[in-house]
Symmetry: C2
Subunit: 190 residues, 2 copies
Amino acid sequence: MNYPTGIKKSHNQIINYSHRGMTLEDDINETNSYYRDKDLAYIYKKPTPIKVTKVDFRKDRTSTIKEAFYMEPSTTDYNGIYKGYYIDFEAKETKNKTSFPLANIHKHQLKHLENITKHGGIGFIIVRFSVLNKTYLLKAEDLFSFTKDNDRKSIPLTFFESKGYLIKEKYRPRLDYLNVVDDFLEVKNG
Amino acid sequence: MNYPTGIKKSHNQIINYSHRGMTLEDDINETNSYYRDKDLAYIYKKPTPIKVTKVDFRKDRTSTIKEAFYMEPSTTDYNGIYKGYYIDFEAKETKNKTSFPLANIHKHQLKHLENITKHGGIGFIIVRFSVLNKTYLLKAEDLFSFTKDNDRKSIPLTFFESKGYLIKEKYRPRLDYLNVVDDFLEVKNG
């Protein structure tokens, strides 16, 4: 079994999962990898879009990119399939203790999540309040009900507490967000 | 209305769609863009995975990447949602006139398509025989029935002719592959 870097485990040892210095992206990538290993879901992070402007071409597939620039992503970072459903989400961390600044999510990413939801997909955001060490899943529908009713530039923590789902952090998978998705699939189908 | 580069159109003009020098990727990107404009489907090409090794960081979001390398993709190039279904495919061109060399698709991409199909998604490959100017959609299930029964390193054109679906090329969208997907969704649901 592989343990995350820097963590040793014995049967009598209690591990504090909350302060491992792992980023939200690390946690989600590890969780998605766990889901794939267990043949539960196939959800991947999309590569960062990069515009390549200069390349040293070589025939042996080892071309070196000499100049390139980061581009703004046109969609969300994660998508894939779970129980036949199309899954699509964006994940963000904030150091803010009382609200999540909406500037963290691009307008076209919100539009993308809206399109996905309209076409029968399951869209959401995962937001970690890193100082509070709390990670919430907020369904796209609830996100839009907030943005449509409010001119506010941030979503208060209280909104996540009332409408979002707190994702439990554990050892493996680190951030079992599909457990939460199961909850609202049950409501949808039941 | 925007016309593809190098093509002018008038009402009396007949356009030869077959020799525009557009790549398969261009055609699929334009088609996906058409589907989005018409609110029919949200299918995107994933960015090319690139490993960045040197960056000139700047605060104003204009960091320049000074050294980077192309990585092997872990999944297929295209995915998204259509009529609530998770769609996933790989697209390849070949200059070969009689068969499609399987070396064009990585083993882990085939495995990925198999996982997707098993979990209720719609997986396929789009293969263009560029010299013949014919583009086929082959369902993942048929692709696997071929690879499981054969040790061959290529799929003969005749297999595409019997099991695949010929995609009609037209003006807009250039390569209406969802028209073909509709055909087998009908079989699935009807």
